[in-house]
Point group: C2
């Protein structure tokens, strides 16, 4: 039987991008179903009735929600290029960093974006990013876990792409790239990966999204 | 070589309880190191410098943080009674429910506790718990994933124990048990498991904790 794979999402969501990149890495053909979050489809409400959120992966009729869970599922179902390392300790480290970048760095950077670059919010984002910068300095590898793309790269290695679009829409710099050379280098390595590139929205659609978010005319 | 296993935590944390229960289930001997969160130990700051949070599991010198990551690590390192099912879809479902109960039900119940049972906060907690109640009705099994204790039980199956202690300290009912018979039955099944029981704080210490939290004299 051929696998039937559908992904419900919106183009501009970094959480949806995670699922796309994981599917791209495994070379899986899938149907992307664009959701309208102001008017969610009956399918989305059926597949994720509790959270009503994207992304939802539907594999042969079985729905899976929450981007980190989706990535791990994809890695278990489709072999080939592995996302998770087999080493239990390295895997735990990757899961830890994927979670803390999500829980600490992203909210701080989002706050800086939504405050339109307010000084205190930017200082707090800088503080969180400094931890990540230090960790990348220690690692010194092309990707987060070594020479090959892995969990942390797929989850968060390219989110600077969103920050750049927000900066363009606002006309200000939020993350000072010269302060974070390792984060910048790592992000570039991730974004230049074809499987990542193919999972990202266009820069134009992202800038247009932020313009709408900030109430600016398009 | 004998494994050296240390767990840094505080008795009253449900996140620390998760790690204890997982270790108990695997029959692992470990040293519990009680932290003072107002005066964190140099070890804790060394092992979890980014988050500075408990629990931290230290296995043969290697630190692992974040309770869900710790549980998965324990399950991979020590075989015997499995925590995660081998079936990728069932595993994804368990990970999903562990995460959403954490992200949706717990904050709502915590808000109801911290508001001392304010009507709106209790109504919101009830709404979140109703989803869980419905899911348990569909499942109809002793534990969340079937007849054996698993990930969701270890993560959240016994948190009503904390709610009960908060209710005692406040002298009010926060979660109306007659509204949630399935949650009550499931919680009882979990709490009556020896490995869970051995991982929980005493009721007295928990009530004393809430009394301190609510500024009541002990």
């Amino acid at each position: 039987m051929t696998d039937q794979v559908k992904l419900y999402g919106v183009e501009v969501s970094p959480f949806v991008a995670r699922a796309k990149i994981a599917l791209n890495l495994k070379g899986i053909n899938y149907e992307f179903i664009q959701e309208d979050l102001d008017n969610k489809s009956p399918d989305l409400l059926k597949y994720n009735p509790f959270l009503k959120k994207v992304p939802v992966l539907v594999h042969n009729g079985n729905p899976i929600s929450e981007s980190l869970v989706i990535i791990e599922y994809i890695d278990e179902i489709w072999k080939g290029v592995p996302i998770m390392t087999k080493d239990a300790y390295e895997k735990a480290q990757a899961q830890f960093w994927a979670k803390v970048i999500d829980d600490k760095c992203h909210p701080a950077v989002l706050k800086a974006i939504l405050s339109h670059g307010e000084e205190q919010a930017v200082a707090e984002a800088d503080e969180q990013l400094q931890f990540l910068e230090n960790e990348l300095k220690v690692k010194g590898s092309k990707f987060f876990g070594g020479d090959n793309i892995g969990l942390v790269d797929i989850c968060v290695g390219y989110t600077i792409f969103w920050v750049g679009a927000a900066e363009e829409a606002l006309g200000i710099e939020l993350v000072a790239k010269d302060k974070f050379p390792k984060i910048t280098e790592w992000s570039d390595n991730c974004i230049n990966c074809q499987v990542v590139k193919d999972g990202l929205p266009t820069r134009e659609s992202l800038v247009a999204f932020y313009n709408r978010l900030f109430g600016k005319a398009e």
